[in-house]
Amino acid sequence: MKKKKQKVNVLYYVVVGAMALLFFNFHTVSFLKGIFYSFTDWKGYGDWNYVGLRNYLHMFEDVDTKNAYLFTFQFTVITTVLVNMISLILACALNAKIKFKNTIKAFYFLPYMLGNVIVGFIFNYIFANLIPTLGKACGIQILSTNILGTNHAMWGIIVVTVWTACAFNTLIYIAGLQAIDIDVYEAADLDGASGWKRFRYITFPLLAPSFTINMVLTAKGFLMVYDQIMAMTEGGPGTTTTSIAVLIYKKGFGGGQFAYQSANAVTLFVIVVAISIFQLRILEKREEQIR
């Protein structure tokens, strides 16, 4: 039997339409323009010509671009792994029957409410003043200088990024944990699975959907890392912490390489999409196998 078409309230169209219009105007159009300009030699103003694929080919010869990609991938892999490990541990701990659970949860969630730039500035001060003073007082050589002014500046940024990113990921894991039926645990208990075994064979497999989401979201976010770096090192010292997004901003707007960096941005977009799809495929397959 054919269902009678229900009349849809016009309001839905108005709301969705208005958003779609705004989104299309300010996001999609700019994105398409960016793709368009990546085939030109536009400086951000003035005249321009088509240059075909020159910008894309030039990327392979540019040391700055190469270094930025290397840094970004390194940063993404380390941070993604750390964030997910720590969030998972935190979530399990916070899901246990402990006292002051909600207060502690609030503490962990706090960094998420602060903007990345503010967090960056706060840690800038901590790294520049507090930690060196502490390091000198304890006589620890490695801590007595500002880490952001050394070769290891990346680790300073990683610490801050992990600290901020854990909040949201922990939340997703907690939600996942709470969705697991208590009966399953009881059954596991009866069968004698506890501790690590229970986590390995019950909790983790059942958390698979949360794990997938977190992996994809964090990897995507860290590939586009920008605000922490601008707040803390502006890509320095030298170019040691210049991520792709920072490079695009610096050279695209400050260095008159608008078109070339548009090409870079398009490439970054393709890479992010590719990695996300790849992750989704692998992780979803894993989810299915577990079931």
Binding site: A128, P132, N146, G149, N151, G235, G236, G238, T239, Y260
Partner: protein, 412 residues
């Protein structure tokens, strides 16, 4: 109902546009690229407006002025009067051919030749015409703690050897010669900008642009001396920020700092009694070669198609009047390009005579292409030094990098 709201909204919007549109006929726009001088500029503009009731000058000083100006250039919407730095933003506007040639005006002769020459140098094809009238200038060199200099019995060095001697004496007395703030990597440029004009061969910037010379061939001495300077910096100078370094310096840490007159305001905020002065960086052993690095901080230009060109010229002439020029530089700790207007503030007394005598050289990085990020290269060079990389190897790769990056920026 919905339609009514929409109608009302659009009526308000439209009305707003119309309102801002009219009443503008006798308004003249002064576009300023410097946020720091807005108050004093407004004060002078108010005086001018009071004397000229028939017109009204309105200042617009947007954030990220360089980019705003470029977009307005693209729309062919040129402000009547422009107050810009003597850098590539000016070059951009000037080379678009929208500025009035002010060479023949009376007030142009009131300005120091050396600064006019700096403006000519950044004109397209170095045309010897005054499209911009230099107004205020800045100075970069060695800032020193006067009390400590007196305490240690030091005299102002005028040659490189004397400079090294001073550094040695400071270290012998157990003091730190320099406070360097390389966490903010633009500060690494200051030492370079002070040395390069003294030591680089005549006509280097043109030759480099044409590709007939390289940094590697000509800048070894500068790179050497750069390492010498940072070897006398404080521990962890790579991790010290400009703000923290300024505070520490004003409160008695270190004896010298390599920076410019713009830092003095910060010192005074941190410690109002701080006794500081400045001398020209003695990069060469021939003291006649040791220029004060001084650039055009503010210049005035007028759009040639402006309806109010006469008023614009009158305004520039008004600003160049001795009294007004003095008011401006006193407020800004800056120097004046107007002949006979001297900065009497003691904090910059050491370079005053050189500037008045025109013994100045422009910031060399004003002549490098906009995309050439020397600050990052110098930061990398310094980082490698701190990491204990072999000096010769470090220098070689630094200079090679300079050439490579310059070429990339020069083409694109």
């Amino acid at each position: 109902m919905k339609r009514k709201v929409l109608l009302a909204l659009s009526a308000i919007l439209l009305g707003g546009m119309l309102l801002t549109g009219c009443g503008k006929s006798n308004e003249i726009e002064l576009f300023s690229s410097k946020a720091e001088n807005k108050e004093i500029l407004q004060q002078l503009v108010d005086e001018f407006n009071a004397e000229h009731p028939e017109t009204k000058i309105v200042i617009s000083a947007p954030a990220d002025a360089g980019t705003v100006l470029k977009t307005r250039l693209a729309k062919n919407d040129i402000p009547d009067i422009l107050a810009l730095g003597g850098d590539n933003n000016y070059t951009e506007v000037q080379s678009a051919g929208v500025l009035e040639d002010l060479s023949a005006e009376n007030f142009t002769s009131q300005v120091q030749e050396s600064y006019l020459q700096m403006v000519y140098d950044v004109n397209a094809d170095k045309e010897q015409a005054a499209y911009g009238i230099p107004y205020a200038t800045n100075a970069s060199g060695v800032l020193y703690n006067v009390d400590k200099f007196n305490e240690l019995g030091l005299t102002i060095p005028t040659t490189w050897d004397e400079f090294l001697d001073v550094i040695k004496k400071i270290e012998a007395a157990g003091e730190q010669p320099f406070v360097l703030t390389y966490k903010d990597n633009w500060t690494g440029l200051c030492a370079w900008n002070s040395m390069a004009p003294d030591l680089q061969p005549e006509g280097f910037t043109d030759a480099r642009q044409a590709g007939t010379t390289t940094f590697a061939e000509t800048h070894q001495e500068i790179a050497d001396k750069y390492l010498e300077i940072i070897s006398h910096g404080q521990e962890d100078f790579m991790g010290t920020t400009y703000d923290d370094g300024n505070k520490a310096f004003a409160n008695g840490q270190g004896v010298m700092m390599i920076n410019g007159n713009w830092a003095i305001n910060q010192f005074k905020t941190a410690n109002a009694d701080f006794n500081v002065d400045m001398f020209a960086f003695p990069a060469s052993n021939d003291s006649a070669e040791n220029y004060v690095t001084s650039g055009v901080d503010v210049l005035f230009a007028a759009s040639k198609d402006s309806k109010n060109l006469d008023v614009a010229k009158e305004f520039i002439s008004f600003m160049l009047e001795e009294e007004n020029a003095k008011t401006y530089i006193d407020n800004q700790f800056a120097f004046s390009a107007v002949k006979g207007v001297e900065q009497e503030e003691t904090t910059v007394a050491g370079v005053k005579s050189d500037i008045a005598a025109g013994k100045v050289a422009n910031f060399p990085d004003h002549y490098y292409p906009a995309g050439f990020d020397l600050a990052s290269l110098l930061s990398e060079y310094s980082l490698n030094y701190v990491n204990g990389m072999d000096n010769i190897e470090n220098q070689k790769s630094f200079l090679a990098n300079c050439d490579e990056k310059y070429d990339i920026a020069n083409v694109d």
